[in-house]
Assembly symmetry: D2
Homo-oligomer: 277 residues x 4
Amino acid sequence: MERKTLLTDCPDAQGLIATITNICYKHQLNIIHNREYVDNVTGQFYMRTELEGIFNDHTLLLDLDHALPPGSQRQLISSRRKRVVIMVTKESHCLGDILMKAYDGSLEIDIAAVVGNYDKLQHLTERFDIPFHYVSHEGLSREEHEQAMLKAIQSHQPDYIILAKYMRVLTPDFVAQYPHRIINIHHSFLPAFIGARPYHQAFERGVKIIGATAHFVTNDLDEGPIIGQDVIHVDHSFSAQDMAKAGRDVEKSVLSQAIESVTEDRVFVHGNKTVIL
Amino acid sequence: MERKTLLTDCPDAQGLIATITNICYKHQLNIIHNREYVDNVTGQFYMRTELEGIFNDHTLLLDLDHALPPGSQRQLISSRRKRVVIMVTKESHCLGDILMKAYDGSLEIDIAAVVGNYDKLQHLTERFDIPFHYVSHEGLSREEHEQAMLKAIQSHQPDYIILAKYMRVLTPDFVAQYPHRIINIHHSFLPAFIGARPYHQAFERGVKIIGATAHFVTNDLDEGPIIGQDVIHVDHSFSAQDMAKAGRDVEKSVLSQAIESVTEDRVFVHGNKTVIL
Amino acid sequence: MERKTLLTDCPDAQGLIATITNICYKHQLNIIHNREYVDNVTGQFYMRTELEGIFNDHTLLLDLDHALPPGSQRQLISSRRKRVVIMVTKESHCLGDILMKAYDGSLEIDIAAVVGNYDKLQHLTERFDIPFHYVSHEGLSREEHEQAMLKAIQSHQPDYIILAKYMRVLTPDFVAQYPHRIINIHHSFLPAFIGARPYHQAFERGVKIIGATAHFVTNDLDEGPIIGQDVIHVDHSFSAQDMAKAGRDVEKSVLSQAIESVTEDRVFVHGNKTVIL
Amino acid sequence: MERKTLLTDCPDAQGLIATITNICYKHQLNIIHNREYVDNVTGQFYMRTELEGIFNDHTLLLDLDHALPPGSQRQLISSRRKRVVIMVTKESHCLGDILMKAYDGSLEIDIAAVVGNYDKLQHLTERFDIPFHYVSHEGLSREEHEQAMLKAIQSHQPDYIILAKYMRVLTPDFVAQYPHRIINIHHSFLPAFIGARPYHQAFERGVKIIGATAHFVTNDLDEGPIIGQDVIHVDHSFSAQDMAKAGRDVEKSVLSQAIESVTEDRVFVHGNKTVIL
């Protein structure tokens, strides 16, 4: 008995749930969990079905292809753990949280490597027996640095790249290598405080909440599809530094929740939005 | 085109989703929303399906009865607004919140009447053009009083009874008239602080959170199936009175959320627990 | 025995708490609650002191004026209930919440009147025996309409004006009449989604939280000092209309919390920020 | 210039704030932060004052002793980092969180050692260069085991002991060694689900929230003064194991927040309650 996840993303039509669940039933696959959603604005249908049984992937997908409307996408995913590479700069809290959660099983991922443009987090990473690649940007052009980073990353063949407070903007060339597979944590409740120093912006504005946003990286800075967001309350007594310190916990929880959703194959991307089933 | 909700509650078996959605498809009913859940401990399957189309209730239910396993329960519910009667004593905040939310459409219910063992809330009720029955308990035995309350309630043929801070314990005879149809709000995060004066109990214990619990009323005081719960943070500076005042908002939101879930036919009861789809 | 609140807002200096509390002590006034705050960036000191005793306002303030540094502001406020006028357009939920909370004592304010540019909420207002002024903007210039609104408002001599979903922008002339005395509720977590139709903007961006912000009105649209903010979680299934409906509760709670803070004399304004003690 | 914290805990009397702040002023000490609280039920006054300047501890305390009412307690605490020893059994998440937060400076404590009755967490502890004492309880009486634990702990002279999911009940003899200095995390919102297996109890009851409580350890199991509490929402789909997994985050945040409050000298204990300033 195996477990796999079937993802369907297609134009809405009558009887889709019946069609898909029937095919699964005929294949003697048991449905463990099922969620579906129809976006009434775009007319798109999304379904995520966790299946258990003995799989004949080829005929199952063939049956689906015959039954689903034109323009449908479907994927049958083995529920193996995902491989990730983490990119960092100097701040340790997000990296530390992911390392610890992978260590104790709270996050069911394999961290293939950590890549940093500073070596500050090398020691922490290696305490968890994970390789750290130090790729300094000093003396390199942006493109040269990214090529060096990419080389280090690609050697690990990651499913996803996690920017755990990586403080440099990625070029379109880099992003194009991993479409909807790079997850960033931005330290504000987007779309407020896009760009640099969001806590300073928040302090200047006198807000009473600060937050964090996990999103897929696209070519528009801090404009990619949002995966998760949360906030905490602050008051007048918080300096920008206090906000940054208080914000660590919400950055960590939003990022690790997003990693969990993505690596459990729950996140569909449509245009600039996510559907999470 | 009509909308109805199909509720299925049956022993789990392979192919149930396919079976049910196929029957809906053959009846040319469109699935607007669908949620299902299998309780792996009890082996029970729950499914809530919002359907749109032209209904032949009789043949649809017949088809389901032929297809579902023995011991199945299924209901096809017209999505009309539910009628409720609200029971109160003296505190106005929960009643006021429900009156206002029904008034502005936030709660899609019809309040048939309010019944109180004091007349303190009569004026507020009548401001909203809703009949108020004042049934004093003075000089009556518990049974006599309940019979008088029941008489007032039954004349309105409610789908549900809402105890909006009704401060008397109901007898088994009363409860038996409305099984899983009486919703109470208790002002603590049950099972902590069962019974009288929970805010005083909370104050004595020195807790840092206070809460509220909405539950169906059964014969065991404050032990019925929980529909919803929430808490707010308090600190050392809160007296029991401060807690009671601060708790109003969470009592209101928990109760009105529970009313919404129940009157939208989202709540299944199994043993002493609820499944909310 | 009376209760009054002393507010001090002055340049920071050594010994200010000792100085102020000494003067109170010499006046045989008992300190019921005290909070102070120093803004280390601006070097400003804020203190709010609830006092109980027999007051000689004149000599108390004279003593303070002698002792406090140049440029100090101090106010001794009788703890009487504040008078408010509420401005509305068509949406009932914020008005209804304030009416009910004033009715049951959760908000200790006197609602002198409600003024609307539509008459849709007249009936609701009058159910609570509060006068409603219907001042249509039809056929009037913005200035003419505001003059008519102002006339209706001024006749009630309010301490504060509450914009409970009043959907027109106020002119600088209007705002100048009530500096830091007009409280608005904006249905987004500012500074995100300034201006019109914030829920539509939120829907387009695909955010996972929506929120509300209470702020003092200044001449910069949605840019005034923030009093309070909160958010709720949403997901992909929320249309803009669903967000608007779900947002009602957070709009209500943020606005009523802000009204409570302001009318309890807890809110200091400095530049574009608030200090809430 | 040094920083110290003055804690005052005494019967309430008129002029206490003036008295204490005056003495500080005469000593030319600047007040950085100040919070005070009067418990009107017990008539007790609490004040926490962060001071900056050049301290003459002896005369400062002498001045305070002359001025404060009989039965007063006052402490002048150098703001050095506190030393803690952490006691563990097998679960890593709370320990891992504290290790990481101490590592990155989020918690300003020195972890002198970790002591476990299993050796499962030895490797994790040593990754952070912190000594681990493995003191198995096998073959030892409860008293013998505690004596061995105590011996390991006392050699590190901790200010506080943190039970980071230490799953054995401590005897009165042990507790008496560290009165109000042992902090436990219990995985329920106390007073609900005291004792063993709270997540199983929560599952059986069908609650919609689960929580965690940090408290000082006394001789009454799970009955000591509560320092902090929080909850998260769950639904019908959570097994007891799911609750345990989901509860990890709230256990971590409640425990680390409690450690921060206690080690920053913010927590007063009075009877079975805490005052946190």
